[in-house]
Symmetry: C2
DNA sequence: GACGCTATCGCAACTGATTGCATCAACAGG
DNA sequence: CCTGTTGATGCAATCAGTTGCGATAGCGTC
């Protein structure tokens, strides 16, 4: 099933997940059934998911899934670089699958609207540049959650 | 004890707390012993505190303090505008006493260093201006926690 | 000063996430 | 294929914070 003769190496998302077992072993870590399930769930996930949602999705596959195992595996995978986490407006953990574009979030505290913030958004780039210039600080956009008021709510509120 | 004859109205932090009972009642809300304790603790607090720390400090005064009461009162006080909350780098709640200058936080994910970010910091102002211009979004600086790498760690790490 | 409305409290259960520890099993080496 | 090392798991306890609900009590009104 894989003798397609094509010599080039797949560098897409599929390959990212396929390489995980070996990358773990190369570090002296192990490839276990529990990790296989989580990676499987993650590979079918795009964008962001909360930790709790991942636990639940793993439980659909294996009802015996234990939360601590999931969270510990997420830590390992984050160190491996295949995902990153941030905290949503309410402080809960949110995981981002890295093959997706790195991005942060914008959250309006009045209407509750949430939108993504691409790393190449002009405002984000300006902010990143400002902190780089002024303080030499490198903002991790994937962990960025801005809380405030959106344009609609600002014009709606006179106060 | 208060006939100092001075006609001007105190507008400092002391006054902010002293006015809380009436401001609550003016909204049809109530001034209770539990709220008195929390406000007392807050008035002796400057900068930021976690919710858990506030619960503990209230317990020092009244060992019977119940967490849910504290958190609910904190919500009320936030609505009143005497404090605001944000989430620290690990997602835990952090409360800011408003009489202090509004500020955000900078957190280095490598060395763990944390520093304050004044609202009038050049980089903060540039970021706020960028989001205002580009999206009409008003960043709430008091809820701002930037995660990334500080200048020291960037130069230390070649990678 | 007593009354009644209803905001607030206390409690218990629950959610999301973390930690310590004894046990188990992945996988490298023989 | 068997064995030993040690990383990972399961479990139970714990932490931070939230929610629903019946009981209590603040405070405006009579």
């Amino acid at each position: 099933m894989q003798q397609d003769g094509s010599p080039h190496v797949e560098a897409g998302p599929t390959d990212t997940w396929a390489g995980v077992p070996d990358r773990l072993r190369a570090r002296g870590l192990r490839w276990t059934p529990q990790r296989r399930i989580l990676v499987d769930v993650l590979s079918r996930t795009d964008g962001h998911v909360t930790g709790a949602a991942l636990v639940e999705r793993c439980r659909e596959v294996d009802p015996g899934t234990i939360p601590s195992t999931v969270y510990r595996t997420l830590d390992v995978l984050e160190e491996l670089g295949v995902l990153s986490h941030s905290h949503s407006a309410d402080g809960r953990e949110e995981f981002h699958v890295l093959p997706d574009e790195e991005h942060g979030h914008l959250y309006c505290r009045r209407c509750g609207a949430e939108s993504e913030l691409a790393a190449d958004d002009p405002a984000v780039m300006a902010a990143v540049a400002a902190f780089d210039d002024e303080r030499g600080f490198e903002i991790q956009v994937s962990h960025l959650t801005l809380i405030g008021r959106c344009a609609d709510c600002r014009s709606a509120a006179a106060d």
